[in-house]
């Protein structure tokens, strides 16, 4: 008997013995099984700035996990060796949600990130771990493309504290051609996450010739401001030729700087550039008095002047989770 997976908008109808597009949700004897539950392929301790999250416990370390698989197939994927891998060909570590919480405590991390591939495809593992983490006073972070159906998304968000969600382009054509997905569910996921009270930061990877035109960037910034608010941090990330997109050059610093200028011109208050060293593009400034609040270089915090979530000079409240 075929089973239908209702997790993401792909709604895969899966024949016995087969998996959905994500490769990890399998029909075994008519039952939909998640074969990666409790088997992450990667467990590490990262700086929270690497996610990237710049408005969430700056300078803290975060236990970060992933299983293999992804429901998107981005031609530019930086982590394709794990995101596009079959579980059969992979190596994993047995780690129940309880063990994961114990590891987070052992590493003295205040938070736990579900990242690297996409936590949506290991949904049940993420959900159970996040629920336990919340009970243990550990915060939960998702790093995701946001390609998920509304019902499971809302259920998961009740345990999520912060999320970095990719908005790869404001173009359905781009999502179809480059990622084998569609734009609308991602927009919905962003709006729902923000409305649910989750700290949301958005990442846009700028790929030369595909989504680097000034008008494309301006449209994306306008959408973010109108739907998520001007206080939503936006990260423009540098593309490097990887996977099936090795023919394109890396994004230039000039393009990233221009994107940042456009975003700030459109009224976004916190705009960053990533995957490249840039002191100004990685530091946080007060949107009111323009003074430097958090100085960063790479993933390192050089100084953090925020006091109780406010600018120490003009007392403007700064969007984020600071303690």
């Amino acid at each position: 008997m075929k089973v239908q997976c209702e997790l993401c908008p792909k709604q895969c109808l899966i024949s016995p013995g087969q998996s959905g597009e994500c490769r990890v949700r399998i029909n075994i004897d008519g039952v939909l099984r998640t074969v990666v539950y409790g088997y992450p392929c990667s467990i590490h301790v990262d700086p929270v700035e690497k996610k990237p999250l710049f408005h969430f416990l700056p300078g803290s370390r975060i236990l970060s996990i992933a299983t293999v698989g992804c429901n998107l197939h981005c031609k530019n994927c930086q982590n394709w060796e794990i995101s596009q891998a079959n579980p059969e060909e992979s190596t994993a570590f047995p780690c129940s949600p309880q063990r994961l919480i114990a590891l987070t405590k052992e590493a003295n991390c205040p938070s736990l990130a579900y990242t690297y591939t996409d936590p949506i495809i290991y949904y049940e593992y993420t959900y159970d771990s996040a629920k336990l983490a919340r009970q243990a006073g550990i915060r939960n972070v998702l790093v995701t493309a946001g390609y998920i159906n509304e019902d499971p998304w809302r259920r998961l968000l009740q345990y999520v504290d912060a999320a970095n969600i990719d908005l790869k382009a404001l173009s359905d054509e781009f999502y179809r051609d480059v990622c084998s997905a569609t734009l609308k569910p991602v927009q919905d996921a962003l709006i729902i996450a923000k409305a649910s009270g989750v700290l949301v930061e958005v990442t846009n990877l700028i790929i030369p010739t595909l989504n680097d035109k000034a008008e494309q960037i301006r449209d994306l910034c306008r959408w973010v401001k109108a739907n998520l608010g001007g206080e939503t941090p936006l990260h423009f990330s540098r593309f490097f030729p990887r996977y099936k997109m090795r023919h394109l050059p890396p994004t230039s610093l000039k393009t990233l700087d221009l994107a940042r200028e456009i975003a700030m011109d459109e009224g976004l208050q916190y705009v960053y550039i990533g995957n490249i060293l840039s002191k100004e593009g990685q530091s946080t400034y007060c949107p009111e008095c323009k003074k430097l609040l958090i100085e960063r270089t790479g993933y390192t915090i050089l100084q953090n002047r925020i006091e109780q979530g406010r600018c120490p000079d003009c007392k403007k409240e700064i969007y984020g989770v600071w303690q």
Partner: protein, 60 residues
């Protein structure tokens, strides 16, 4: 067309239409998300977790 053929034709058309309406209704009706069940065994290689405190090479 005989009366018998006409009735058969009407019944066929009705059943096809009814089938299509059922299929379409099922397709568009919102369905409750049901979680997947954890697998019994990992299909790939399983190793003991070593040191995990170092920074990952993966993006994100």
């Amino acid at each position: 067309m005989t009366r018998r053929k006409f009735i058969r034709k009407v019944l066929e058309t009705c059943s096809i239409t009814f089938g299509y309406i059922c299929w379409f209704g099922q397709k568009i009706s919102p369905r409750k998300f049901v979680k997947a069940v954890p697998g019994k065994k990992y299909p790939g290689r399983v190793e003991h977790l070593g040191s995990f405190v170092k920074q990952s090479k993966w993006s994100g």
